[in-house]
């Protein structure tokens, strides 16, 4: 492919090997990705900020550390993190000291974070190079990236379609080979669904696995931070880099980080062999009404592939799945209504002060600073928590949440290693297709949000195409089973290594490099 050559087409683990062997430098790697991001992002709009200066300084520092380690000896070199010197993109809700952090909202325009998020510190500590910040649905509320205040992101498979959301920019940038790795957050599917729609790997870890300190909150009891990559090994290594207890997040768990995340088998056969004797459940409720036939077919094929590799697969039931959406849309907006109260124009960001008093200033600031989806959810959440409605809505939703969690517990207690099903009921949809009907948009997350409600880890990996567009296979495991899920996902990669669909690259990659491409917002406007 003429537009895609050199370093940017490689996986991070391939680049890391070249970096260590001295074939390339972290600076070359950063420069190649920065150049590609600049050259291809006009028509994609995956990025909100690309910080060349900072990235190159970090790359130089990574090269210096590498040189030091090389001089010190093999032990020092081996002690470096597998992702040392590798580039990463951060969803624009991760605080990076001195940098903008908009969370895709007008109301945070101009705000510069005065501190680093925990994961920013962790990434720096292991020598990962931060290229910039990616586009997202405002405050992570959305499944298409169309709710960004700064214009939508397109899908590299088809520029007329959405990349999914809310971490749409993080997913699209990886799918478009602008970066090998990115960070997203997932409150109801915001990593897994865009990973599925963009044909890449994305994981939402167990709640508490990654510290939320410094991540702009949407719904505190559901938010988790996780990796995007083009293969499982890279995703696992990135998860490894950001995992672990942080005293500053009281909900972060003291669970040890699974060290096998950085030791996944390189050999496809070896990886596939892991599946022998493993037991998977396929939740029948995840084959929802209105599901795209091509998606269902791809999932059935994937399940057959797992069986063929020696795994046992049984149909199982998660009986409270149907109530997931309704209860999620009580709990998440309720928490959001409080989390977003701090955007009042008093201390930072967008502020309008021509009101008659504080209240008037708040109304104008928030009225003009928040987009329609955010307002919808803040109102929904405020209502659900109001006196007289609390028991009927919020308390009831918490009870349903317990039942959803119990559904999963029953299956994992019965010995299933993981559950397998679709990530999203459909493939990437056209811009505007679900914008007019919020519930239709919410249904995109019907198979992912129960996992957030239960606090469990889930991963989406590519499993084929439906009418030419990527389909995501979701694997769900018990709490703290990220190591197992990554092995299972890597095994599936091994089993399907020679599948034809694995050789198909995003159709519109070539277009992206072309000149005179309209931005996604312009493309929509001209329709």
């Amino acid at each position: 492919m003429a537009d895609l050559q050199g370093l940017t087409q490689l996986f991070a683990h391939e680049m890391a090997a070249r970096l260590r062997s001295g074939e390339t430098t972290a600076r070359e790697i950063a420069e190649a990705h920065l150049a590609r991001a600049h050259a291809t992002d006009h028509g994609l709009h995956a990025w909100l900020t690309i910080d060349d200066e900072r990235a190159l300084a970090e790359a130089d520092a990574a090269d210096a550390t590498l040189a030091g380690a090389r001089a010190e000896g093999p032990d020092a070199l081996a002690a470096l993190h597998p992702l040392h010197g590798m580039p990463v993109a951060l969803k624009d809700l991760v605080s990076v000291k001195g940098g903008q952090c908009t969370a895709g909202s007008r109301i945070l325009e101009g705000y510069r974070a005065p501190y680093d998020a925990h994961i920013t510190e962790r990434l720096r500590a292991v020598g990962v190079v931060i290229l910039g910040k990616t586009n997202m649905d405002e405050f992570a509320m959305g499944s298409s990236c169309e709710h960004s205040a700064f214009g939508p992101t397109a899908n590299p498979w088809d520029l007329e379609r959405v990349p999914g959301g809310s971490s749409g920019g993080s997913a699209a940038s990886v799918a478009a080979f602008q970066t090998p790795l990115s960070i997203g957050t997932d409150t109801g599917g915001s990593i897994r669904q865009p990973a599925a729609l963009c044909g890449i790997v994305g994981m939402k870890p167990t709640y508490g696995r990654v510290s939320r300190y410094g991540i702009v909150a949407f719904a505190s009891s559901l938010d988790q931070i996780g990796p995007f990559a083009r293969d499982v090994r890279d995703a696992a290594a990135l998860l490894h880099a950001v995992s672990g207890r942080d005293e500053r997040d009281s909900t972060s768990a003291p669970e040890p980080v699974a060290e096998d995340l950085v030791n996944l088998p390189a050999s496809d056969d070896e990886a596939a062999s892991w599946l022998r004797g493993k037991r998977f459940g396929v939740p029948r409720e995840y084959f929802v009404e209105g599901m795209e036939p091509g998606v269902a077919a791809a999932i059935r094929t994937a399940v057959a592939d797992l069986e063929r590799a020696g795994a046992t697969v049984e149909e199982v039931s998660l009986p409270h799945t149907d109530y997931g959406l309704a209860s999620y849309y009580i709990v998440a907006p309720a928490e959001a209504s409080a989390n977003l109260a701090r955007y009042d124009g008093v201390r930072f960001g967008h502020a309008v002060t021509d009101g008659a008093d504080y209240l008037a200033d708040y109304l104008v600031t928030r009225g003009s600073g928040f987009g329609p989806e955010v307002k919808r959810r803040v109102m929904l959440g405020t209502y659900a928590l109001s006196a007289g409605y609390y028991d009927a809505f919020y308390l009831k939703a918490l009870k349903v949440r317990t039942l959803i969690k119990r559904d999963f517990d029953v299956l994992f207690d019965a010995g299933f290693d993981a559950l397998v099903g679709p990530t999203s009921p459909d493939v990437a949809f056209r811009f505007g297709a679900k914008l007019a009907d919020p519930v239709k948009m919410y249904l995109s997350d019907a198979c992912t949000l129960p996992v957030n409600m239960a606090g469990l880890p889930g991963i989406s990996i590519p499993c084929g195409l439906s009418e030419g567009l990527p389909v995501g296979l979701q694997l769900i495991g018990p709490a703290w089973s990220e190591g197992v899920l990554m092995r299972a996902a890597r095994a599936y990669e091994g089993v399907t290594a020679s599948a034809d669909w694995r050789r198909v690259r995003p159709h519109d990659l070539a277009k992206l490099a072309g000149a005179g491409l309209p931005t996604p917002a312009e493309r929509i406007a001209s329709r």
Binding site: L93, S95, C101, A103, L108, Y111, A113, P114, Y115, A117, R212, Y213, G214, I215, V216, A217, A219, S220, S221, E247, R248, D249, S250, T251, A334, E335, S337, A338, L340, A341, R342, D344, V346, R347, F348, Y358, L359, Y362, T382, L385, S386, A387, Y390, Y394
Partner: protein
């Protein structure tokens, strides 16, 4: 009793006041409630003691301050409250510029301490205040209204200082069981004593470390339903607590007598005008939309933790008063001493240095001479005033008590010790060492008799001259002799002469 309080007393024959008290106390901790920022911001430049968490920046998260939790547990134990095995945090949602997150992290459903009580002594006898709950929350920032920012074209501006934002705050709420303004004041006073004794709060009302709010309503005596409740705020001293409530009782009674309606409202106390004034209406109760704080897991308080806190509790004021009274101090003196940490400290230090000294002797000294000295010279780390030390004071008080030195000279020596800390031994050396030793006293007496033959003759003639001899002996000993003993010995000697 003030005139207002007196009139309120009259009113109370017809109406019964129903009073509940809410007290917010700033807890004495090194850091704030949910972040590592220092609580030593008094006098600091605005916005110098803050961080992402207490500024409510995007992505910041709270972490519980264990010391603050222990302070509330300690308070709960001190008021005989029950401590739940599991407690949780809630968000209290409302918008105000002094509340950076748009919600306050507080405790709603399960307070850290519930169902306590505090006994207080009032002019009408002992009264027990039922305490509903004590819980933990965070303080707000401070607003400076009406300031004009230099160079700003805006007229009136409000400035926000976030130094106080997130400071640990304990709220203690009573049942509506209080019936008089005096009870309310005494409750606040006693609670302050307890909080100071257990070291959880400096509880200084004038400095805003202890903020008292009263809910006051009246009902016709003998009836059950509560009257219209008025919240009274801005009372910056115990005296203003009593006066504001007394005023409010009288004001409400006058309105009820006149058939005028009362409104649910918040009223402030104006110390200058000695009156409450309308601040805002409370007709519509605000909906705070409390819900469990998802950023903080529920807090488990196990028995071992509670017992560890209990083991660290010092003697409480009530128990201390009881002990003092049992030791022979009047209840009044015991109350005076226990109400003053300086006096209590001095009393304990001196008692420890002189086990056999009558408590009454120490109490008199501590609440009298010593209190005056402490007022001007302060308390040293040994617990006594200025340069003085408990051991020397104990020696001097013992010498007075056992009559080895006379009271006047004893007071003089104590004065000198309090003034410059001269050790008791050196001071005693300056007075005659005879003191109450019979042989030494007799030496002085014999010398005086020998030197005054005329007076001896007068004695033989039946004239009352014993007083003259005693005076001479006292002068000869520099006043250090036991006057009673000298008198007895003089009589004995003169009788022998005669």
């Amino acid at each position: 009793m003030t005139a207002t309080a007196e009139r309120a007393g009259g009113v109370l024959e017809r109406y019964e006041a129903v009073i509940g008290i809410e007290i917010h106390c700033q807890l004495r901790t090194v850091s704030k409630m949910f972040c590592a920022c220092s609580t030593q911001y008094d006098g600091a430049a605005p916005n110098t003691h803050c961080c992402p968490t207490c500024l409510g920046l995007p992505g910041a998260l709270p972490v519980i301050n264990r010391a603050a939790v222990e302070h509330v547990i300690a308070t709960g134990l001190a008021i005989g409250a029950s401590i739940p095995a599991r407690t949780q945090w809630e968000r209290k949602n409302y918008f105000y510029p002094d509340l950076p997150k748009g919600y306050q992290i507080s405790q709603y459903a399960i307070p850290l301490a519930a169902n306590g009580r505090l006994a207080i002594e009032t002019s009408a006898g002992l009264f027990t205040v039922d305490i509903t709950r004590a819980h933990l929350e965070e303080d707000t920032a401070k607003l400076a209204h009406g300031d004009v920012v230099p160079g700003s074209t805006a007229g009136r501006t409000t400035l926000v200082d976030f130094n106080r934002s997130g400071a640990p705050l304990m709220e203690i709420v009573t049942e509506p069981c209080i019936r008089t303004a005096e009870q309310a004041r005494r409750y606040a006073e006693e609670l302050q004593l307890v909080l100071r004794a257990i070291g959880v709060s400096d509880a200084d009302m004038e400095r805003g470390q202890m903020r008292v709010e009263a809910n006051v309503s009246l009902r016709v005596r003998g009836t059950q339903p509560f009257g219209t409740r008025v919240e009274v705020k801005n009372m910056n001293s115990f005296r203003s607590v009593e006066r504001a409530i007394a005023f409010e009782i009288e004001r409400q009674a006058a309105a009820l007598d006149a058939g005028e309606p009362l409104w649910m409202e918040t009223r402030g106390w104006d110390d200058g005008r000695q009156a409450t004034y309308h601040m805002r209406s409370k007709e519509t109760s605000e909906d705070y939309r409390y819900f469990p704080e998802p950023d903080l897991p529920p807090l488990r308080v196990d028995e071992a933790w509670i017992e560890a806190v209990r083991a660290g509790l010092p003697e409480l004021p009530a128990a201390r008063r009881e002990r003092y009274v049992a030791a022979g101090i009047t209840p009044y003196d015991a109350a005076v001493i226990v109400a003053d940490p300086g006096m209590t400290g001095a009393f304990e230090a001196i008692s420890a240095a002189a086990a056999s000294l009558p408590a009454k002797e120490i109490a008199n000294f501590v609440s009298g001479m010593h209190a005056r000295a402490a007022k001007s010279a302060g308390i040293n780390d040994r617990g006594t005033a200025g340069a003085s030390d408990p051991a020397s004071i104990a020696v001097l008080l013992s010498a007075i008590a056992d009559g080895s030195i006379g009271r006047p000279i004893g007071r003089d020596l104590l004065d000198r010790h309090l003034a410059d800390g001269t050790p008791a031994a050196d001071l005693l050396a300056t007075v005659a060492s005879t003191i109450s030793d019979d042989a030494a006293l007799l030496g002085h007496i014999d010398a005086v008799i020998a030197a005054n033959p005329k007076a001896v003759a007068d004695h033989r003639a039946g004239k009352p001259v014993a007083g003259f001899f005693v005076g001479q002996v006292m002068r000869a000993t520099g006043g250090a002799a036991d006057a009673a003993k000298v008198t007895a010995l003089v009589r004995q000697r003169l009788d022998a002469e005669g």
